[in-house]
Symmetry: C2
Subunit: 109 residues, 2 copies
DNA sequence: TCGATATTTCGAGAATTATCGAATTATGGA
DNA sequence: TCCATAATTCGATAATTCTCGAAATATCGA
């Protein structure tokens, strides 16, 4: 992951509707959710949802596949992983950030 | 960290100059760097740099303190940590994303 | 084939963000 | 006090992003 790719991913998540949609997709798991279902859950028009999903897809954060009349979107965990890895390496001095807090959370889990 | 705070942090990092500035601050460590030094390294006017630093500060990602005529900015590792924690918990199903890849990186480190 | 459903694309307008020079504020030294 | 330096704020403009209805595309079932 290079910085321009990271910026695209960060931009994709830096928006209320898209962050929420991505969270729903993460919860939904491998099967994913149809575009229409997401639009309904977020309470926005289908065309707006489509616009946002295109940005998430462009950033590589979601994948899509057709299922009958619907198009199912699913979160791409590896892409999210890549973003977290980039941030950890480039914006945290290579350590889990602050060299403490995150590790503590993990230890307590 | 709630979602609106996360969005502010993501937005702050989702911009070429700000991501680069933040990376330089992470490298610089606790002492930080003066606003003018950052502007020079990024090759942008002081007023533009000031605009971007204000956004990073607003997102809580950087802290500032005056040192003589300069204002030194430093990365707030805890804030970055909070963002990574939020993304891990809310956008990765609570597991290090993909329940594998990140763990593997850590294991091999 | 026809009609209904699901989604995307298009086009226009509103809102937000980024850029940069000029003016302003704050500090330190002579 | 006066001047130079360091930064921020202001104001205007450019660029980008967001929103949403209407139109177009694709799929399914009768």
């Amino acid at each position: 992951m290079d910085s321009s790719h990271a910026i695209r991913a960060l931009s994709a998540l830096a928006q209320e509707h898209r962050l929420e949609a991505f969270r729903l997709l993460v919860q939904a798991g491998e099967t994913g959710l149809a575009a229409g279902v997401l639009a309904e859950r977020l309470g926005i028009p289908a065309s707006s949802m489509s616009f946002h999903l295109a940005q998430l897809a462009n950033a590589g954060l979601v994948a899509q596949r057709r299922n009958g009349r619907s198009i199912l979107y699913r979160a791409d965990y590896a892409a999210m992983d890549g973003l977290l890895g980039y941030l950890t390496e480039n914006c945290c001095g290579g350590e889990p950030c602050g060299a403490g807090a995150l590790s503590q959370e993990r230890a307590s889990a």
